[in-house]
């Protein structure tokens, strides 16, 4: 193949950066009637844009082929992002960002996406290298999302009571660790975990009972649907009424929320074993329990883990939401609703970030166990195509 393939993303990046140099960087200040800032006044930003044009053009030709190339692109993007932040806060572009600025952000986006793309498709037989590539991708993507958030919020001058920039949330996060630890302990450890275990556990047992007794399957399953659909905001006040203000009522809400996904998935999973395998067990005159443990539960595992994953996020949401309806004055949900009322939106987002962090880690743990426990499932095998 003699024809050179142009790298589209890098082309977009280069062109956008070039245009960014031409278009106005910022809008007009309402009071002074003057343009807020020019690219020419900000040497760092100007050089970053120029660098983007050069790097973009270069990579458009040679293509982004190796991890090294991707690294260079990322480095260029990081430098550009740093300069953009500088321009926002040190040169007063915040709130007045205009076409030029956004074009530059688009250019950076093109580079970051292309770099991430290359790293994501990186294959190495060395597990260490492969795993670090696997970790870098979501982190780079996440950092990029945060950057976009910061830039958009500051650039458009969004009022911080609506949406604070991540930098502010970060400061809050670090400065209020004590409060947040207490909240975390109350909401996650006490309420969410116990509710999750009880909800998933009981649903699993009920699923087996339902499966064992066809009468129950036909009688209880349709009613189970109804229980699951009980809206949390209707149930939560009732649970507070029944189980008091502390974590027990939250756990009860979570039990109700997590019950149905687990029930449905387990019941579906218990029927997932193939006909041939069932026949095989029949030839051994394998009893109900033996077949359950040796065939039907293993075959059901992919479904069960599905529910465990869905529930891992539901549990935390449930705990937080339930705290809106009465709690002792600690807990993530309590803090969120109280601080919204106090217009401390940065604290609200710090708690949300904590929730996201905890929830993601929880999910990750479940997914890890799933991978270990059901490594035989086709979805974990052969990913060449």
């Amino acid at each position: 193949m003699t024809q050179v393939k142009l790298d589209k993303f890098c082309l977009v990046g280069a062109v956008a950066a070039l245009l960014a140099l031409i278009f106005p960087l910022a809008g007009i200040d309402g009071d002074t009637g003057k343009q807020v800032a020019f690219v020419g006044d900000i040497p760092g930003l100007a050089s970053a844009m120029a660098l983007c044009v050069i790097a973009g053009a270069a990579f458009t030709w040679i293509g982004v082929c190796t991890i090294l190339h991707a690294g260079i692109l990322l480095a260029v993007a990081v430098f550009g992002a740093w300069q953009a932040i500088d321009a926002l806060y040190d040169y007063g572009v915040a709130g007045y960002a205009s076409t030029g600025f956004w074009l530059f952000i688009i250019s950076l986006w093109a580079f970051v996406w292309r770099a991430i793309d290359v790293i994501a498709n990186y294959h190495s037989l060395e597990t260490v290298k492969q795993q670090s590539a696997n970790i870098i991708v979501p982190i780079a993507f996440g950092v990029w999302l945060l950057f976009v958030w910061e830039v958009v919020v500051s650039g458009f001058g969004v009022p911080q009571v609506l949406l604070p920039p991540p930098s502010m949330i970060g400061v809050r996060f670090v400065s209020s660790t004590d409060t947040m630890m207490a909240d975390f302990y109350q909401t996650f450890v006490k309420a969410a975990l116990s509710g999750y275990v009880m909800g998933c556990g009981s649903a699993f047992l009920v699923a087996i009972a339902v499966d064992r007794v066809p009468f129950l399957k036909r009688g209880l399953l349709p009613l189970g649907n109804m229980v699951s659909a009980l809206p949390i905001i209707g149930v939560a006040p009732i649970m507070v009424m029944w189980f008091g203000f502390d974590w027990q009522s939250k756990a009860a809400v979570i039990v109700i929320m997590t019950f149905f996904p687990m029930l449905v998935n387990t019941v579906t999973g218990l029927n997932a074993a193939g006909k041939l395998e069932k026949d095989l067990m029949a030839t051994y005159a394998s009893g109900y329990w033996s077949t359950l443990f040796r065939l039907r539960l293993p075959a059901a595992m992919p479904f069960v883990f599905n529910a465990l994953k869905i529930n891992s996020t539901l549990a935390l949401i449930g705990a937080i939401v339930a705290e809106f309806f009465g709690t002792p004055i600690v807990g993530m949900g309590f803090r969120i609703s109280t601080e919204v009322g106090r217009m401390n939106i940065d604290m609200v987002w710090a708690e949300i970030a904590l929730a996201a962090l905890a929830g993601t880690a929880f999910y990750g743990a479940v997914a890890y166990v799933e991978r270990k426990a059901t490594s035989w499932h086709p979805s974990f095998r052969v990913r060449r195509h």
């Binding site: 991430i116 793309d117 994501a120 991708v137 979501p138 993507f141 996440g142 609506l162 949406l163 009468f215 129950l216 399957k217 036909r218 009688g219 349709p222 009613l223 649907n225 109804m226 229980v227 699951s228 659909a229 009980l230 809206p231 949390i232 905001i233 209707g234 006040p237 009732i238 009424m241 029944w242 449905v264 998935n265 579906t268 997932a272 992919p302 479904f303 599905n306 994953k309 869905i310 996020t313 949401i317 939401v321 309806f325 993530m332 949900g333 969120i336 609703s337 919204v340 949300i352 929730a355 996201a356 962090l357 929830g359 993601t360 990750g364 499932h377 086709p378 979805s379 052969v382 195509h385």
Partner: protein
């Protein structure tokens, strides 16, 4: 129960009807329902008794057990309303009132249902599209998936007001914001299950498509999607229930003007447990109906796919 059996089978002259009923759905559901009903009455008496006794004490009234039971089942704001109270309230607010009235549960159900259905449709679509992207594009799987998961750990009730405010500021009002919140909640189970389902084809089946040099798109339609059907339907049943919850949550920050969420809220605001329970049951009933419909579609699809009964 046994006397029940006897009369039933006796009256139609043979056990066949009874067995037929019990092997279908309606029979077992009725029996389980009956059992729950009994439990419920007992629960109601026990949970309401303390406040009732309190009230007797305050009024310096002497009381008997039968009177206590009678009164606990007829409180105005019971901790656990008795079934007949809920039924009565539901009857009043569903059948005894014009359905266009603000006091009609049919009216409120419709408000909630419309945003539920919109949210569910968008959510299912979004869930499937995301799953398709994640299964096919390695970059998306590695970069997006963790953030899809994180997105679900954000307590929606906390950001729902901000969402509504922001959407309201750019002129989106009414049904759509509520549907968006419902979408946000219900797309996730669909994504997770579909990612699993789309990856569930046997290796040999994937190889087969590969020998045909089938495009990703063709492999998707001919192999991945059909294999994912059981996963899809299991998740749709969960998603429709969750999207109802989402629609209800979405109703709160709009000032909870109408819909089952508003009824629930107003009910709990005034401590009207009976109203809460009847709204709750209506919601649950709606969800159950929708799950039944999804289940019906599932059976239709599976039959078309040649799965034996």
């Amino acid at each position: 129960m046994t006397s029940n059996t006897a009369t039933l089978s006796g009256s139609v002259g043979g056990p066949s009807l009874w067995t037929r009923m019990m092997s279908g759905h309606s029979g077992p559901v009725c029996v389980v329902l009956l059992a729950l009903l009994v439990l419920w009455y007992v629960g109601a008496v026990f949970m309401n008794a303390p406040t009732q006794i309190d009230r007797y004490d305050r009024a310096d009234q002497t009381w008997t057990t039968s009177q206590l039971i009678e009164d606990t089942l007829a409180q105005e704001r019971p901790i656990l309303p008795a079934p007949h109270q809920v039924v009565e309230e539901m009857y009043k607010s569903i059948f005894a009132i014009k359905i266009t009235s603000k006091r009609s549960l049919v009216y409120h159900s419709w408000v909630t249902l419309s945003s539920t259905l919109l949210g569910f449709s968008i959510g299912t679509l979004l869930g499937i599209v995301l799953a398709v992207g994640i299964v096919h594009v390695m970059t998306l799987e590695k970069s997006l998936m963790p953030w899809v998961i994180s997105s679900q750990t954000i307590p929606i009730l906390a950001i729902a007001p901000m969402v509504i405010v922001v959407l309201g500021a750019i002129g989106i009002k009414g049904l759509v914001p509520k549907a968006i919140i419902s979408t946000y909640l219900c797309f996730f189970p669909v994504t997770i299950s579909m990612v699993k389902g789309l990856r569930s084809p046997q290796v040999i089946q994937l190889d087969l498509m590969r020998t045909y040099n089938a495009s990703k798109w063709q492999t998707f339609w001919q192999l991945r999607l059909p294999s994912a059907m059981p996963y899809l339907f299991a998740s749709l049943k969960v998603a429709i229930a969750i999207s109802l919850v989402g629609a209800i949550i979405g109703e709160l920050p709009t000032g909870a003007q109408a819909g089952l969420g508003a009824r629930l809220l107003a009910g709990s605001y005034y401590g009207q447990t009976i109203q809460i329970w009847s709204a709750l049951f209506t919601a649950a009933f709606l969800a159950a109906m929708m799950v039944v419909i999804v289940g019906w579609c599932e059976r239709r699809v599976l039959v078309r796919m040649g799965v034996s009964a």
